[in-house]
């Protein structure tokens, strides 16, 4: 789950992680009021969408740029008018763009130094790791590749939490001294609390900056939350903006289906995440292109299978469907009935190949064959992949 820039600022404020002054606005009047609130500072207005590349983006109404310097409250209102309820297209949004329903008016900060700061959950050591670098403001992947010596890591004990000496090591590595070092130590302590308290999977500040007036600020942040822990964070769940997500994925999540949309034309419906990934792989292996990842889970109900089917058929790129079910415990006949029920409800305008294996498979195959629907039965996974690839060509 992703959150907006203004929501990240809300979390920073709550945990006392300093960031540039700013306020969110849903109307030109609110934008002007925010600009008046911070008068005296140099200000920017930014369209709130999850995608990057906002500054160089364009609105479908012809207005250029999703980020602008503003000189007055009147100008804030004027720009807000052109951005709000308009669609912004950036390199990351795709051609359809994203609807802007909020803008943020924020202080435009002068920068002395840029740093990189992140906290992530490290799988290998099973503990949080803090990553810092003096090479801020650029892609950390590039820094890791070109100048790995500029990246410093500090692992944190899962039960003891962040220690003062660990912070001092990082401060020293960043070459910070005096009051700047003190501010950084406080910021990092609070950021660590935020990371743990909110069940973050990743929290990246790039850049973290120092300013000519002697402040340390989190300028741009990226949050990743552990989906498994969202049940205990209703406040974070409330930040979810479904308009930013693939509508197919939103629909799938309502039926507890694991769905990820891709660009290909062969849809798959599979039980189990590992098998679902492997099914995409085998489609590719035989020259096809998977349209999605879809795991119906181990105990998929007839309703789930029907919902999955509708989501798949709602994707206009899809030219064929492969169902691959290893019904270990799950009864293949129940799967077969679910498929037939879905196909009868939605119609079956494109080829469907079904590979069933496992519990009660003969009955399942017989049910499919007796359905009168145009379903191609496959003997095994390779046979299924070959048949669906041939069918869409």
């Amino acid at each position: 789950m992703n959150i907006h820039e203004y929501q990240a600022k809300e979390l920073f404020d709550r945990f006392q992680v300093p960031s540039p002054k700013g306020a969110v606005a849903s109307s030109p009047e609110e934008a002007a009021a925010a600009a008046r609130q911070f008068s005296g500072a140099k200000l920017v207005i930014k369209a709130q969408v999850h995608a990057g590349g906002r500054g160089k983006g364009h609105f479908t109404n012809g207005f250029q740029g999703g980020v602008h310097l503003i000189e007055s409250p009147e100008q804030a209102a004027e720009f807000a008018e052109k951005m709000l309820n308009q669609t912004l297209v950036t390199v990351q949004t795709g051609e359809a763009g994203k609807l802007v329903s909020k803008v943020m008016v924020a202080e435009a900060v002068d920068i002395t130094h840029e740093y990189y700061l992140a906290i992530l959950m490290d799988r290998a050591t099973c503990r949080p790791v803090i990553v810092v670098s003096t090479a801020g403001g650029m892609s950390i992947e590039d820094v890791a590749h070109n100048t790995p010596e500029k990246i410093v890591r500090q692992f944190v004990h899962p039960l003891l939490g962040l220690q003062a000496y660990e912070v001092r090591k990082l401060t020293e590595a960043l070459g910070m001294t005096g009051d700047i070092a003190k501010q950084f130590a406080k910021l990092l302590g609070n950021l660590y609390k935020l990371f743990i308290s909110c069940d973050c999977a990743m929290l990246e500040i790039n850049p973290l900056v120092t300013t000519p007036d002697g402040r340390v600020l989190a300028l741009d942040a990226k949050f990743g939350f552990d989906d498994n822990a969202l049940y205990r964070h209703p406040d974070i769940v409330a930040m979810r903006d479904k308009t930013e997500e693939d509508p197919r994925e939103v629909a799938a999540s309502e039926y507890d289906l694991n769905y990820i949309g891709l660009d290909g034309n062969i849809a798959c419906l599979v039980n189990g995440a590992g098998l679902a990934m492997a099914t995409m792989d085998i489609i590719k292996h035989y020259g096809g292109d998977p349209a999605n990842f879809l795991d119906v889970g181990g105990g998929a109900s007839k309703e789930q299978v029907t919902a999955a089917f509708k989501i798949i058929l709602g994707d206009p790129n899809v030219k064929g469907i492969l169902i691959n079910i290893f019904g270990g415990i799950m009864d293949c006949n129940i799967i077969a009935e679910g498929v037939i029920a879905a196909a009868k409800e939605t119609g079956l305008p494109i080829p469907l190949v079904v590979r069933l294996e496992g519990n009660n498979v003969e009955m399942g195959k017989a049910t499919l064959a007796a359905s009168g629907l145009d379903i191609v039965a496959a003997d095994d996974m390779s046979d299924a992949a070959r048949k669906i690839v041939a069918a869409v060509q």
């Binding site: 959950m121 799988r123 290998a124 099973c126 503990r127 949080p128 004990h157 899962p158 039960l159 743990i196 069940d199 999977a201 552990d226 989906d227 498994n228 822990a229 049940y231 205990r232 694991n258 990820i260 891709l262 599979v270 039980n271 189990g272 995440a273 590992g274 098998l275 679902a276 990934m277 492997a278 099914t279 995409m280 792989d281 085998i282 489609i283 590719k284 292996h285 998977p290 990842f293 795991d295 181990g298 290893f326 270990g328 415990i329 294996e357 496992g358 519990n359 095994d380 996974m381 390779s382 992949a385």
Partner: protein, 298 residues
């Protein structure tokens, strides 16, 4: 021999009265597994299917029945507590089936179990099966949610992060007439109790296991670490499969652990390293068993 469990293992089931736990407790009993106790707080004194005594706490269950292994089926908010309770009761093997446990919970559990005599397998795993010698492998030890009947007792060890891919491998082997010593699902979460390498080490030391199938997926470095260990230490033939070659970077593919982040955790990189370490890599999931047999000289 086998690893971790055999037909005499006394099994406890935590969460035996929940619908998921109850269903699989019944299936394990039907498979011939010695399910000796269940635990559901508040239901102590009752019996599951009129046979299996239910206790309020794990330690009470262990004292009364001598159970040495437990399968955990409790919901995610209570799973970390259930694992710690099992460790506190001195359980030798803790198999956590529960899917959806917060990573922070597992981080703390993992640290708390350091130095403990309990081995944790999972969470978010299908469990472990050591097939029996009866019809359709009846009489074996089935811990978790795997379909028992697809197994056959034999000499191939299977280790995997994914449930359904384990079943695929087992089914392929059994169809070709090759049985399994033990099949271990280590789970799809980023922090788990037992990794690929630890299972390979056990298979390497197990006289009954003659060959191994190792199934992995994108994300993390567990398969790569295991392959490098195997190159130096394992003399038994291994076939490998890595799922997720077509997964887009940065997206979590169902399993919380299946996400491409770095350079060595893509399917392509893992396959390359496995091959460099002498593991026969199956090109498709349909060829896991045949790839092993070719390497094994069968």
């Amino acid at each position: 021999m086998s690893i971790l469990i055999d037909e005499n293992t006394k099994l406890l089931i935590q969460g035996i009265t929940g619908s998921f736990g109850a269903r699989h407790a019944s299936l394990s009993l039907a498979y011939g597994t010695k399910v000796v106790a269940g635990v559901t707080p508040g239901k102590g004194g009752q019996k599951f299917e009129n046979v299996v005594p239910i206790f309020d706490t794990v330690s009470h269950a262990v004292n009364e029945t001598g159970a040495t292994a437990t399968a955990i089926f409790v919901p995610p908010p209570f799973a970390a507590d259930a694992i710690l309770e099992a460790a506190d009761a001195g359980m030798e093997l803790i198999v956590c089936i529960t899917e959806g446990i917060p990573v922070m919970d597992m981080m703390r559990v993992k640290e708390a179990l350091r130095g403990s005599k309990s081995r944790l397998v999972g969470p978010n795993c299908p469990g472990i099966v050591t097939p029996g010698h009866g019809e359709k492998s009846h009489g074996g030890c089935r811990i978790g949610i795997a379909p028992g009947y697809i197994h056959k007792r034999g000499n191939v060890g299977v280790v995997s992060r994914s449930g359904t891919l384990t079943y695929e491998a087992v089914f392929q082997l059994t169809q070709l007439g090759y049985g399994q010593s033990t099949c271990v699902g280590i789970g799809g979460d980023p922090i788990n109790g037992t990794n690929h390498q630890e299972v390979l080490e056990m298979f390497n030391n197990d006289p009954e296991t003659e060959a191994i199938i190792m199934i992995g997926e994108i994300g993390g470095t567990a398969e790569v670490d295991a392959a490098r260990w195997a190159k130096a230490h394992c003399k038994k033939p291994i076939a490998g499969f890595i799922a997720g070659a077509t997964a887009p970077p940065g997206r979590r593919m169902g399993h919380a652990g299946a996400i491409v982040g770095g350079e060595e955790d893509t399917a392509q990189a893992k396959k390359r390293i496995l091959a460099e370490c002498g593991i026969a890599v199956a090109e498709t999931p349909a060829e896991m068993a045949t790839t092993l047999l070719a390497r094994w000289g069968k």
